[in-house]
Symmetry: C2
Subunit: 131 residues, 2 copies
């Protein structure tokens, strides 16, 4: 189980990295950016929930996107809002293309049905492991 889940994650990472090469973003950065475009002003805590990553990782991802001028951060009190830049919005169609490319890539290998089932099983498992 240990090695299977790790191996699967690494394979998926590779496939995803390949898919997002065109926009020069890692899959995590790309997903985060899409969430920010979809919901401008979204807070890091919300990103944590969507992406199943830890707060520190989210901070690091945002920092990198900020350097690339794809998002901006405004902090008021203890809360932070993350907004997409025009540059990011312009990139959206390409991001969707990459997402689609990735989906096609793995569902071509697994079949759409099996893919869907697998994802939902994994999610169930993750939920159960999240106490």
């Amino acid at each position: 189980m240990y090695f299977s889940s790790n191996a699967l994650a690494r394979k998926m990472e590779r496939l995803a990295t390949e898919s997002w090469k065109k926009v020069d973003l890692s899959p995590s950065h790309a997903y985060l950016l899409m969430l920010v475009i979809d919901e401008p002003g979204i807070q890091p805590s919300a990103l944590v929930e969507h992406l199943l990553l830890t707060p520190s990782t989210i901070t690091r991802l945002i920092e990198k996107l900020e350097k690339k001028k794809l998002v901006v951060r405004t902090t008021e009190g203890k809360l932070t809002n993350v907004y997409p830049t025009p540059k990011a919005k312009k990139l959206l169609p390409e991001l969707h293309e990459c997402l689609n490319h990735f989906y096609q890539a793995y569902s071509a290998i697994l079949g759409k049905e099996e893919s869907t089932r697998m994802v939902s099983n994994m999610n169930k498992l993750v939920d159960k492991l999240t106490d």
Copy 2:
């Protein structure tokens, strides 16, 4: 799919790390060590196949176990053999205990049947992704 597989791997990593705390080894180190004990003189290239990791990672894992005096390496020509030390052999029962603890931990959460099915599905998937 991308986040689900990654999240699952991270949860499993945590569960496994917990299980191997007693012997003060990371799961990867522990599995590698068990393989070496099981097949003294095993070569890095064989470990690569068993553990689904890259050669460089295997080298790094062995290096660490060597520092802990749990394995020794002998190199002749381009081939390297890895052997367990007596210290490692003495550790074997504890390693098995940890392995069992880990198995109990996740199959308690998922059920033995679902666990087995999940693992075999993941392996199938990994195989298909390994071109």
